[in-house]
Symmetry: C2
């Protein structure tokens, strides 16, 4: 096959692809506030949420972040994004097995959720990241119905990203886009410790 024929075939193949993509893009005409869920056991869920915040803020949108679970840790994303007007609400406890006090964890969850509800009712906020919210629902620290209600009643143009393992199926049903991050391999399993800048 000569180079010229190869190039023609490449162009034909790419043209077919482009036609398909253009048709799909033309068919997608609705704009609305999206609910994105990023769940699964693999690494990259929270970073994806924070990457979305960085993307939005880089376009001049306003964003707020609620950090459940890992809130009290030193956090590179928070250090950076809070310099750009991103509001943070942070749960006062660390990983729940550090506190081992269910009542205190529930009170902390309740407190930070009230801040989440404020963000979810504020039309001036374009994007709300609910980082690691899923655990609050699966541990029964927060009532599922209450979370659903706040999501359904939020301002029409507001985007929300929920991260965390094992997202409840009813939140998945409510979502517009759902990604499941699977763990194919993890450095930690080979004795490599969690490292600043990569793991937190």
């Amino acid at each position: 096959m000569t180079d010229s024929i190869k190039q023609q075939r490449h162009q034909a193949r790419q043209q077919r692809l482009k036609t398909q993509v253009d048709a799909a893009v033309a068919a997608a005409t609705t704009e609305k506030g999206l609910l994105l869920v990023i769940t699964g056991n693999g690494k990259g869920k929270s970073t994806s949420g924070f990457g979305t915040v960085a993307r939005a803020v880089g376009h001049g949108l306003s964003a707020a972040v609620v950090q459940f679970i890992k809130g009290s840790w030193d956090c590179g994303e928070r250090n950076l994004l809070s310099q750009h007007g991103v509001q943070f609400a942070v749960m006062a406890t660390g990983f729940t097995w550090d506190t081992q006090d269910k009542a205190a964890d529930m009170a902390a969850a309740e407190h930070v959720w009230q801040q989440a509800e404020q963000f979810l009712s504020d039309a001036a906020i374009d994007l709300v990241l609910l980082d690691e919210l899923t655990y609050m629902v699966s541990y029964h620290y927060l009532e599922l119905e209450r979370v659903e209600r706040a999501l359904i009643n939020r301002p029409a143009g507001q985007h929300v990203v929920i991260t965390g393992r094992a997202c409840h199926r009813r939140l998945i049903e409510l979502a517009d886009t759902v990604s499941e991050v699977q763990n194919l391999k993890h450095a930690f399993d080979n004795g490599i410790k969690a490292q600043r800048g990569i793991d937190w």
Copy 2:
């Protein structure tokens, strides 16, 4: 079951979990530059890569980003992160089916890859994001062996994140951590258009 027994059981369960986690953390003692691969068809790969950059930069680490494929688009992450000293190398063409000129695409890939090689040989850079690199390998725009060589020979402490669909299995073998983002649901499939701040 009384509340006090419930609380005792909760504590016992959490204590077992904490013991397991603490043991795993104690066993993980190695620190080294990690190679992370985020692949799969779902939404959230690039944002996860950029979230990792935001995290690293927020801890005062230095980072560089190479954007293949989507380089020439307006990009919220780039707007934001370039304000924090993150270096960007951007491929000059858009999506490859827009150009439909394989020779021009290959020249653009070659050009930006040379910048990637510079980042990957610079010990002053703590983290390099190779956003959407996988397509360069699967389209044969870049030689796999050359990519492997640059990754293997990089400075010992340097972290690298590779994103994109269908990552070549040899890059997966080389990686320390691999996540596969699966698409459970996507707003685009329901006629919702790509939106600024969320999709780019």
